[in-house]
């Protein structure tokens, strides 16, 4: 075996810049190889191009791993860079000799150019003689997990860059783990910057051994190692003469040859109905994209959740009927019988069905800055279904450094969002149990990347907040009868509010509270109550004075309770002589209620839900104003949050004092 005899540390004179002479003729590969055919027989070329297959891959690595340079190299060496783009990049490279920085070819948005980093997932396209390629380019910085998960979700191949000088780092392991979690079947480990390690086989072999040891627990079908220099172009598109000891494929060679058809699940027929096409009474077609498996005309099918069966009468396309169709084609199915079937239903074969379940376990990637709120109902989008879902339990959170599951401790305080205990935040990955309001038709993600995947949407902000992969274990199967019964009832869950207190607070910008005005008859409680209501309303708050209907203590308490739960600033000015009565109302409101139906604590805001204001007007004045009223037995409050001598101040000062107390208690967001 020949060893490379290049000196070990050979820094490029241009740093990360690639020295490509200004007038270099087009390189190998891509269209260049086919140039002759294009020139001589364009129609033959088009026939050939038509037969190409599609491969999606994702390149992962951190800012300094040379990822952009690798993508730039692939595009450049396959001759996919247009002259004017090249000219623009040459200008932007700003190098005296007119050479170019290949990493700039994949640079996108203005904001990123300013920061010198890519901030999101970008897609690039190139084609060679045998395939069309879609590259998901994901950046390697703080928001990495979210971006990588996005790019990896549809990829057939992941390319992970390992710096030959640094070996297998924590981040290489993390990226591989995520690629494996997302079900990418093939992994290519590009050991990059081999030029800086003298193209040493020992270095390469050591990295391969190290990586292989770590990757044993991962789910890839195969892992391939290639020694490369993206900067110099070694073994990317062109085989390098400096790595004679390496007998494997180049990166592009691997991408061209890796079989993708075999990765498609063609055994389990799953057809989520997307759209019902009914142009007239004689035609009733069910449109969808085949998620997996194959279907033939005449096959027996079953519709979920109804369980009704029929046979395929026709597989329609615009170009005519098909005898047979397979994933991922978009078709229209017609059945022999008129059976009920609508969007969200799934057509399957009776002897090969998915699991029907409302409760299941999943690996959940949190994608949003706003952390998971376990009290809140989210929307889950799974195939063509969209239903309400709640996260019952977070079992564990993945420690991205050690790649081990850490138990998730959720305290009451954490549930209400006020403590620093465990939260599921942006870029976190956790194992969770979810319960949907009606059944989904699911397969484990490891068996089916379509029927095993879902996203979570925050219905208040309409943002995509999570991405999930259904696990094999932890599925609570249901019978079709059960599922149907629940669908007819509208939901399988015990009826309960789908709006959490935190959501209410976010919508209203305030938390519900009862402001209880205590005072003698004639003290001016009611005038103060209505003036306060007006003032709060003018301030953009939602306030309401509870008026007497039946003035028993219970009916007053429940009225105050209902308005406070609804998120209103509830103003009560009822006569309440006794300390014990007021304590009763205070206890009723403050008590953090336990909702036994879901066995979780409902955050009701604790002590800030009751504020007592003592309207301490001079008793002599009160008597003068209300000679008819009863004054004996009044117990002045001991623990009022505020005392107002209403006869010694102007009304607006009294109101301002109350508003100040409310602000201090954190009842409002500042406007």
């Amino acid at each position: 075996m020949v060893k490379a005899s290049i000196p070990a540390e050979q820094p490029s004179a241009l740093g990360a810049k690639v020295n490509i002479p200004a007038e270099q003729p087009s390189a190998l590969g891509g269209i260049a190889n086919e140039q002759e055919l294009i020139r001589d027989d364009i129609e033959a070329y088009l026939r050939k191009h038509e037969a190409k297959t599609l491969l999606r891959f994702v390149i992962v690595g951190s800012v300094d791993d040379g990822k952009s340079t690798l993508i730039g190299r692939l595009l450049y060496d396959t001759n996919m860079v247009y002259d004017d783009q090249l000219a623009a990049v040459r200008k932007a490279s700003n190098l005296e000799d007119g050479s170019i920085d290949l990493s700039l070819l994949t640079d996108g948005l203005a904001a990123e150019r300013e920061q010198g980093i890519t901030i999101d997932v970008a897609y690039r396209y190139f084609t060679t003689e045998s395939r069309k390629f879609i590259v998901a380019d994901t950046p390697g910085h703080v928001q990495y997990t979210r971006n990588m998960v996005t790019g990896a979700s549809t990829a057939d191949v992941a390319i992970i860059l390992v710096d030959a000088r640094l070996g297998v780092l924590e981040q290489s392991r993390r990226h591989s783990y995520i690629a494996s979690l997302l079900g990418i079947p093939h992994l290519l480990v590009a050991v990059n910057k081999m030029d800086l390690k003298g193209y040493s086989q020992e270095v390469f072999d050591a990295i391969r051994a190290d990586f292989t040891r770590f990757a044993k627990g991962l789910r890839f079908k195969d892992i391939t190692f290639v020694p490369v220099s993206a900067l110099k172009g070694d073994n990317i598109v062109k085989r390098s003469d400096k790595t004679a000891w390496y007998g494997g494929k180049t990166v592009l060679g691997f991408l061209e040859d890796v079989p993708v058809g075999a990765d498609r699940n063609l055994s389990d027929f799953r057809y989520p109905v997307q759209y019902v096409n009914r142009p007239n009474l004689d035609y009733r077609g069910f449109c969808g994209q085949i998620a997996s498996g194959t279907i033939r005309k005449g096959d027996e099918i079953m519709v979920l959740p109804s369980g009704k069966t029929s046979r395929v009468k026709a597989i329609d396309t615009h170009g005519g009927e098909l005898e047979e169709a397979f994933a991922p084609l978009s078709v229209t199915l017609r059945f022999e019988h008129e059976i009920d079937c609508s969007r969200g239903d799934m057509v399957v074969k009776p002897d090969n069905r998915p699991q029907v379940a409302r409760t299941f376990e999943a690996d959940l990637v949190w994608m949003h800055e706003r952390p998971l709120d376990t009290q809140k109902a989210y929307l889950i989008k799974h195939t063509t279904q969209q239903v309400r879902v709640q996260i019952d339990k977070v079992h564990s959170k993945l420690d991205l450094t050690t790649l081990t599951e850490q138990p998730f401790v959720q305290t009451r305080e954490a549930a209400s969002g006020s403590s620093q205990a465990d939260k599921l935040e942006l870029n976190d990955i956790a194992r969770v149990t979810l319960t949907c309001h009606r059944a989904l038709y699911i397969d484990p993600y490891v068996k089916n990347r379509t029927t095993g995947a879902f996203i979570l949407v925050d219905s208040l902000y309409n943002t995509t907040v999570g991405a999930g992969m259904i696990r094999q274990e932890g599925v609570a199967r249901q019978s079709l009868d059960e599922a149907m019964k629940e669908i007819r009832a509208g939901s399988g869950l015990a009826p309960k509010t789908q709006v959490s207190p935190r959501e209410r607070r976010e919508r209203f910008g305030q938390s519900g509270v009862t402001v209880w005005l205590t005072g003698l008859p004639g003290s001016g409680r009611w005038s103060l109550a209505y003036a306060l209501e007006r003032k709060l309303f003018d301030l953009g708050r939602t306030a309401h004075v509870v008026t007497p209907f039946a003035d028993t203590l219970d009916s007053i308490t429940s009225a105050a309770h209902a308005c406070t739960d609804a998120g209103l600033i509830t103003i009560c000015a009822f006569g309440s002589y006794k300390q014990s009565e007021r304590q009763h109302v205070r206890d009723a409101l403050i008590d953090t209620r336990i909702d036994t139906r879901v066995e979780t604590r409902v955050d009701s805001g604790g002590k800030d839900r009751f504020i007592e204001v003592f309207v301490d007007t001079d008793p002599a004045l009160c008597r003068e104003r209300r000679p008819d009223a009863r004054f004996d037995g009044f117990e002045p409050p001991a623990g009022a949050e505020l005392t107002l001598k209403l006869d010694q101040m102007r009304m607006h000062q009294a109101i301002d004092a109350i508003v100040e107390v409310l602000e201090k208690h954190g009842q409002f967001d500042s406007h």
Partner: protein, 304 residues
Amino acid sequence: MPIDQQRLTHLKQLEAESIQIIREVASEFDKPVMLYSIGKDSSVLVRLAIKAFAPAKVPFPLMHIDTTWKFREMIQFRDEFCKANHLDLIVHTNPEGLRENINPFDHGSEKYTDVMKTQALKQALSKYAFDAAFGGARRDEEKSRAKERVFSFRDKFHQWDPKNQRPELWNLYNTKINKGESIRVFPLSNWTELDVWQYVYLEGIPIVPLYLAKQRPVVEREGTLIMVDDDRMRFLPGETPELRMVRFRTLGCYPLSGAIESTADTLPKVIQEMLLTRMSERQGRLIDHDQDASMEKKKREGYF
């Protein structure tokens, strides 16, 4: 042939994915519209919509933003194409722009594009309260498009925030919006220029004849060939139109879309020329050259 050996060609796969996107919009939105620019990408987009809903007719209208400066051949093609395919067509022109006679000669390409295209589009989307609008943009067209989502969220002012995009995973698209907000949908995101041409060729999709080379009257201005389409053309001193064999790589408004010299008078020859010349497609469109990162700026403001 056993099914697992059947080759799924890249075009079949792209077609299936685009149809899935189009059907998803028709299912999830109340009032979708397909923006129709009359160009080749629009032709492919409409063909995919027809395929998605056959044998029914396309369940949403097409809308063309007419700047009144389109090539005459484009307008003729538009009307015939829509009629032949039983498509509902809405044509909208910015009435204020029309009243003030905003044109590319007096007002410059930037202002003209803003008033007659961007503002006109926003007007029309608001007027009809469309909640989803299909466009034919592709990610390979231009660098800032490479990060565009398939479902691209716009606020109630029709603006795009590149830093606040929804992540897109698998083929699961988040279609939730509030009233007044909208989504721009790009079913051709993953198609390349070559894919579009190949599909036009394979499917025999009609395109505007301007794409094919022919003797046409042009003047050369700042290295760009401007076709003289009607008597509104304003000549600079010393300019006289001459007949040259030209065609268009992209179609827009005639004073702004540059022609290229070419002998490619059939579709395969056009594809051949495109593959051999290797120049970026939007180079012929003057509007993108106004300022650096101009496309991104336009998109933020509401341009497609």
